[in-house]
Symmetry: C2
Subunit: 694 residues, 2 copies
């Protein structure tokens, strides 16, 4: 653990090059001709001595993780105990190691920090690293471990192959954390630490989204009430108040005037008709699409009636709450590529339709500036680390169903600059490759302009057995992973795994299959999966033991990914954005899901006509389909064929920028079971230790 | 601006004494016999050279605030422009100056940080400083400036009289910030900076409260659904699941068993009756007192019907949302004096009543451990600074109506240790002294054990004129502060001001009247108020010009407070906690409000009987009364007499620890006006500057 400290004379700044990957290496530019320069030089020199001492201590701890021989068998140890046993590097040190300047960092406590977007400007000439997407085969209800594979892969790349890497993960919703699923920081020896921080409030992004989303909702209902109870004149006098005898439009009101085709600047010059059209959004209560959100599994809020107090004068209506991560604002956070882009998207969001059929936006409500203010910090990705001290960005976490289920464009972009040309950014897409990966390519990559190099497709023996005809049970104890059944495994590989590989190839990207190994899997099963996967066109297929061994257990995967990334890829979108909406939907249904055709309901047809008429026809498609089957039928495992995909309805997220067809009924608010996870979650007030948050 | 750097040999730690108040002074203990000690010594020495240079620069800026002669007239400058023109000290530097160790600080960005409670242990032998409460006369709807007086006072004490001081403020709700009132960071040259940070998410405490509050709500409704649709056996099997063939109670379930008088540890040994009483909370839907919350002015959520989706199987019920700061969890945060105390209070919260009349707690729901986990960071106060760089704690902000309206016990306790024996902690109570101050003494001081030294009573000429018989209008332009009317002023002083001084004297605390001066006030008016106030028993009465001049404008107030604090005080509670509930209410009504008597409704009488029966009779009283009059009638200004106070209903916050009688109807959810503040709130995506958040 030696430091390569090189002191260059001249220049006034301290430039520590990324040293996360080669701990201790630093190049320092100093100006020794000034008094302050000399003082700085002394400080820096001493700091290097001290910090390399600290670094050595920490790296000893970090490297000790790679020797798991003793802990490997100790399977009673919980994820949180593993997490707690590791001491994270101070986030300032981590940031310095990955090449961030102190002014680009906003620490939130000791182990997480927001990273400023100005970094993109500073590094704009830096070439991007390799871009790796982790997707999965069609999962069992338990999930097949994409997050742990992602974390294990970067631990292997950085801590074992000395290749710069960054993992980009989604921020988990508190709903599942306290509900059924529990925490989402990975598991075993492939975790983000500290997992409590990851699983709880993090740096407040989801809370900011909740606040912004619900401000819009409050603005909608209050506006309808005020319009229902006031004359045009009263509304106008209040909306454009006289301040010291002068009435002025605010900037946000000019935007509305523009959309109305009114190019006047003097409020007094508006005709009565113009006043009416300006002050009355005239929202149709039955056509409000905006829902309130909470980041809690609160099923009783799925359908509610609001406005029942006397003070609301009988303006009651039915509406509902979604889980916060299903908010369009979350999808926007994930797709925005700058503060300005986010601001514009927040202003474009359509909350409903006027009685005359015009879309009404958040800008019409006058609230979009405030939304941007509420979201100003949320747009900065959060830096954390894996159990082996390698860097992670946690940012955004849109619902993988009515939204696109991928982490943020900005985190990926920042990470691609930080790792440099030969480095790797590993990002993850929700659900199976037919959903998360398809949306990653067609929506996220279209928005970002980024082009992926490799797809890692995660599979498990238990899920392959299910696809091969084995039982599809919902409880861990019922998953028949304890018996050897090579024929079920082979059938699963030849159906679902093969189809998901082919889907990735539709986009021109090489696929590495990562078999997430469970302790009950046999060598024969493992060998069989890898053999068939390669036969189906995967560049490589390797078993992964990150859960039990951390990065060391994923070295083969890291090598395979490195090899595949060196191959040429020919990325292409699945559909041209200019295609008619129905054709885009049909293309996804046929080429990705394997459907014969689609069937649009009358409601869906009407909506498509309406969106075309409003100029939304050029948006990409975000399918809302079950993740439990390639088809719309959750029970059809493997690779179903011979079905027609029914499109029940079509909706649009104009700010996020996609049309989302509904295939069946999608719940956007989970529920709590009889015994939710929170029963076991507790905190010892003396030690501060948290239990039950696994 | 010289540094007094004293280097002591021996000892390994760096002990920087509080230097906020004497910038640059530091005592350093070093161990020069070890290599690391020498290195450390060099670093520290160089750091002192550098930091005193930085410090000088910053202090020049800070001190420049005291010369307002030019800016004073520039009244077009908005609060946010004043805030933006000042560069806050880095919070790490501020923390070091006030005597915090680096490990006691958790920075949240560059200008705010959470402070660890371990500080209380480290400083437990340190004597407390002087404890000053800022209260007010009965206000106009615009408020009379308690926050600016508080901030101006600490700016004067620390930056101008070189007396250590800390301001302890409440975190503002986002509801008013985006609704009617706007930001709450003070105003003019008496502000907390950066005001955007203060007014937006701060360090996420209110979001944590919202998450915790709504997890309880989700748990209540989900539990009722599961109890309604499952047999005792099914419930038991799910609540106490068999894991690897073994059923075990979780710790939180043992607590419930204890309350039920069941001392068994083996789940299999419970009788069928015991199983029934264990699994069935049997909540009466009509007696659920727990409401959901959002931190938004969303009037349409005041009264709603939930559970209308088919999935909830007809279990609909009426309920509502409160603004987040009205959550009992906020009141608990403000009153808890340790993590353990908070945890116990969170477990004691009563959410409703069973059909057999038993209170049902969050611990019965199994959720109280998770609540503590959600609130683990919120319990740490947030360190910020005033415009003149003096320290501020921002922590908690319970509704001043159904809750007690004071900032946190813990922030006050930490600050009292940090300022030392001769220093000052200035804390603020919401609304008029009859409400905020009465609750400060009888509830907060009872919980904390702290004893105040001085009350600062804030008055304005405009409010005094109103109390003297002038018009009571709700709009700034209608407040007749532009005309000289000494008789109205005198009448206001002899009624409301006199009565509020007398109320403070009931508790044995000396009063300094702070007249918050507006530019339209005349010298004759100012002199008259000060003269009458002293005649009514105030220790002193002084005009304050902090809005226009910062701390320099509050030097007289600071001197008066310093003088009053040196006098002996004889603090006493207004009532003995053992008194019957009705007598405690009557005591407050008669002695504080000036009522002849109280009149309890039948509902109120029933509730008092129920609370006595449940053992809640020993709790203090938190009156929910209008803040616009000493009486229950908002239009009765001055010091009304000859009225009977009607008690409509009585409720209880068992976790927070008070009974709250309802005097009239209290709205716990504000609404949005036709043109909310958010219309003007915007962010420039290029500069990042925020507008409209004043």
């Amino acid at each position: 653990m030696q430091s390569d400290a090189v002191v260059l004379l001249g220049g006034g700044n301290i430039d520590i090059l990324p040293t996360c990957f080669r701990p201790g290496a630093a190049v320092i530019h100093c100006e020794p001709t000034l008094e302050s320069g000399i003082a700085e030089l002394i400080v820096i020199t001493v700091k290097i001595i001290l910090s390399s001492m600290v670094c050595c201590k920490i790296m000893e701890k970090m490297y000790s993780i790679q020797h798991f021989s003793v802990l490997k068998l100790n399977l009673y140890i919980s994820d949180i105990e593993i997490s707690r046993a590791q001491i994270p590097k101070p986030v300032n040190q981590l940031a310095e190691e990955v090449g961030l300047l102190p002014e680009e960092l906003e620490a939130y406590g000791r182990s997480k920090a927001k990273v400023c977007l100005s970094l993109l400007d500073r590094l704009h000439t830096q070439p991007d690293g390799k871009y790796v997407l982790v997707a999965g085969i069609t999962p069992t209800p338990l999930g097949e471990g994409k997050s742990t594979v992602t974390i294990g892969l970067v631990q292997a790349l950085s801590a074992h192959l000395s290749l710069n890497s960054f993992a980009c993960l989604r921020q988990p919703s508190q709903g599942p954390t306290f509900g059924v699923k529990g925490g989402a920081a990975g598991g075993g020896y492939a975790q983000v630490i500290p997992m409590e921080e990851f699983n709880l409030h993090l740096t407040g992004d989801i809370h900011a989204i909740t606040a912004a989303n619900n401000l819009v909702a409050a603005a909608i209902d209050a506006r309808m009430l005020h319009e229902a109870t006031q004359s045009d004149k009263a509304l106008f006098n209040r909306l454009v108040p006289s301040v010291n005898g002068v009435r002025k439009f605010s900037p946000i009101q000019f935007s509305r005037l523009q959309r109305l085709g009114i190019d006047k600047t003097n409020p007094a010059s508006l005709t009565p008709e113009e006043v009416t059209s300006f002050v009355r959004l005239d929202l149709d209560p039955s056509k409000i699409t905006w829902q309130r959100v909470v980041d809690t599994n609160d099923r009783f809020l799925r359908k509610i009636t609001v406005g029942q107090a006397n003070t609301e004068k009988g303006q009651i209506r039915e509406t509902g709450f979604d889980i916060a991560v299903a908010s369009e604002i979350m999808a926007i956070l994930a797709l925005a590529d700058s503060l300005e882009d986010m601001k514009n998207r927040l202003a474009r969001m359509v909350v409903g339709t006027s009685r005359s059929g015009q879309p009404v936006t958040t800008e019409d409500l006058g609230v979009s500036g405030a939304l941007t203010v509420l979201m100003k910090d949320a747009i900065k990705p959060t830096l954390m680390q894996t159990l082996e001290g390698t860097p992670v960005f946690v940012h955004a976490g849109p619902f993988a169903n009515i939204a696109h289920g991928n982490s943020s464009v900005l985190a990926d972009k920042l990470a691609l600059k930080l790792v440099g040309r030969d480095g790797f950014v590993v990002t993850e897409a929700g659900f199976g490759a037919d959903i998360g990966m398809e949306k990653f390519f067609n929506i996220k990559c279209r928005a970002s302009g980024l082009r992926p190099n490799v797809v890692v497709l995660v599979a498990t023996i238990r899920a392959l057995k299910m696809h091969g005809g084995g039982p599809n049970r919902h409880k861990p104890k019922d998953i028949p992973s304890l018996y050897l059944n090579l024929s079920l495994v082979a059938a699963g590989c030849h159906s679902n795994l093969k189809k998901q590989i082919q889907i990735a190839h539709l986009f021109g990207i090489p696929v590495v299959v990562a078999l997430n190994v469970f302790k009950t899997d046999t060598q024969a099963e493992i060998d069989l999966v890898c053999e068939i996967a390669k036969g189906c066109g995967a560049s490589d297929a390797v078993p992964c033991n990150h859960w039990a061994q951390g990065g060391r257990g994923s070295i083969k995967l890291a090598q395979a990914v490195n090899e595949a990334a060196s191959r040429p890829s020919n990325f292409q979108f699945l559909y041209n954005i200019e295609m008619p909406i129905a054709d885009k939907i049909r293309t996804i249904a046929q080429k990705v899901y394997g459907a014969d055709d689609i069937e649009l309901s009358p409601a869906a047809k009407d909506k498509i006509d309406y969106y075309n008429q409003q100029g939304y026809g050029l948006l990409p498609i975000c399918m809302a389909k079950t993740h439990l089957s390639l088809s719309h039928m959750p029970d059809k495992k493997g690779a179903p064929t011979g079905f027609v995909l029914p499109i029940r309805d079509v909706r649009a997220s104009i700010g996020a920028g996609f049309i989302y067809p509904l295939v069946g009924t999608m719940s956007t608010m989970p529920g709590l079971p009889t015994r939710p996870c929170f029963y076991d979650i507790d905190l010892d007030p003396v030690t501060g230790e948290i239990t039950g948050l696994f």
